[in-house]
């Protein structure tokens, strides 16, 4: 049994384990399933309102999709550095894993800064959360995503601070697996939001 990880499995002999999985990974997937319901429910109502009430009209056309595209690129690059951190942890290079993890978190901060400029621009033009139903959905869904991103950034910076040359490689690899799984989920949610809230309304 790995250090602090609980494995359950069905074994036919003491030395033979047919199937096994980490409880931590299973817990993360259960959590992500709940998060999928949260974002999925909101997106579902957004699409139904769109279909049954003739689109989002002029409100949807005002969304700043070029900034959204830049933010998508930033998140893709952040996920790349997170994947590279996992790769470094697998070969027991904790210093490199720490650098890549910090880069992923910093790119997350860059996403938030760009998003803040975008919110400020929208607000300045009068597109407040109460301006129209589209903007209520826009602020609710993107704001919820920002909160999730913020949580991921805090955990990644916290993990990066905890890593030192004496950090056990298996411990780091496992923690990175969980936080990266969450980070990729947050990226996937953004991809769907970018298509639904930015590109599709801008396309007409």
């Amino acid at each position: 049994m790995a250090n602090s990880a609980v494995e359950i499995g069905i074994s036919h002999a003491p030395h033979e384990v047919e199937t096994s999985f980490e409880i931590g990974k299973l817990g993360m997937w259960v959590f992500l399933a709940g998060e999928t319901m949260l974002f999925g429910g909101l997106m579902c109502v957004f699409v139904l309102e769109w279909i049954y009430h003739g689109g989002w009209g002029a409100d949807g056309a005002h969304v700043n999709w070029p900034l959204g595209a830049i933010n998508t690129f930033v998140l893709f690059t952040s996920s790349l550095t997170a994947a590279l951190a996992q790769g470094a942890a697998r070969v027991h290079d904790s210093a490199r894993a720490k650098r890549y993890l910090s880069a992923a978190a910093l790119l997350g901060v860059l996403f938030l800064i760009i998003k803040a400029f975008e919110y400020a621009g929208d607000y300045h033009e009068g597109f407040t959360p109460l301006a129209a139903l589209f903007w209520s959905f826009y602020y609710l869904m993107t704001g919820l995503h920002v909160l999730h991103l913020l949580g991921g950034i805090v955990v990644m910076f916290g993990l990066a601070l905890m890593v030192n040359p004496r950090t056990p490689a298996s411990w780091l690899e496992r923690k990175l697996k969980y936080i990266c799984l969450y980070w990729y989920f947050v990226e996937t949610v953004w991809i769907l939001l970018f298509a639904l809230v930015y590109l599709a309304p801008a396309a007409g």
Partner: protein, 93 residues
């Protein structure tokens, strides 16, 4: 059994693929394609990006049936929710 041979070069290839798909989606809007065609391309691109992340970054290609169930169950539930809510939203206003 989880696959662990996902190298740095694989990560870069995955990132490159995601960026190319992003450019396709953005060009669809920038070029002003007809609305129905643009929407079709945008949602296909988003689905492809989600698939790439799930398969290569989240390692779903090497997960067992329990994880697949956990990943797909909420998606199926949301689709069911869409059908259940549909008449209510249609008569809302």
């Amino acid at each position: 059994m989880e696959q662990t041979d996902f190298s740095a070069s694989d990560s870069l290839k995955t990132w490159g693929l995601l960026v190319v798909l992003l450019l396709i989606g953005v060009l669809t809007v920038a070029l002003g394609l007809p609305r129905s065609l643009a929407l079709w391309v945008i949602f296909c691109v988003a689905a492809a990006q989600a698939y790439v992340i799930g398969r290569y970054y989240m390692r779903l290609r090497s997960e067992d049936v329990l994880i697949y169930t956990l990943a797909l169950l909420p998606v199926v539930t949301v689709i069911v929710l869409a059908f259940v809510l549909s008449p209510d939203v249609a008569m809302h206003r």
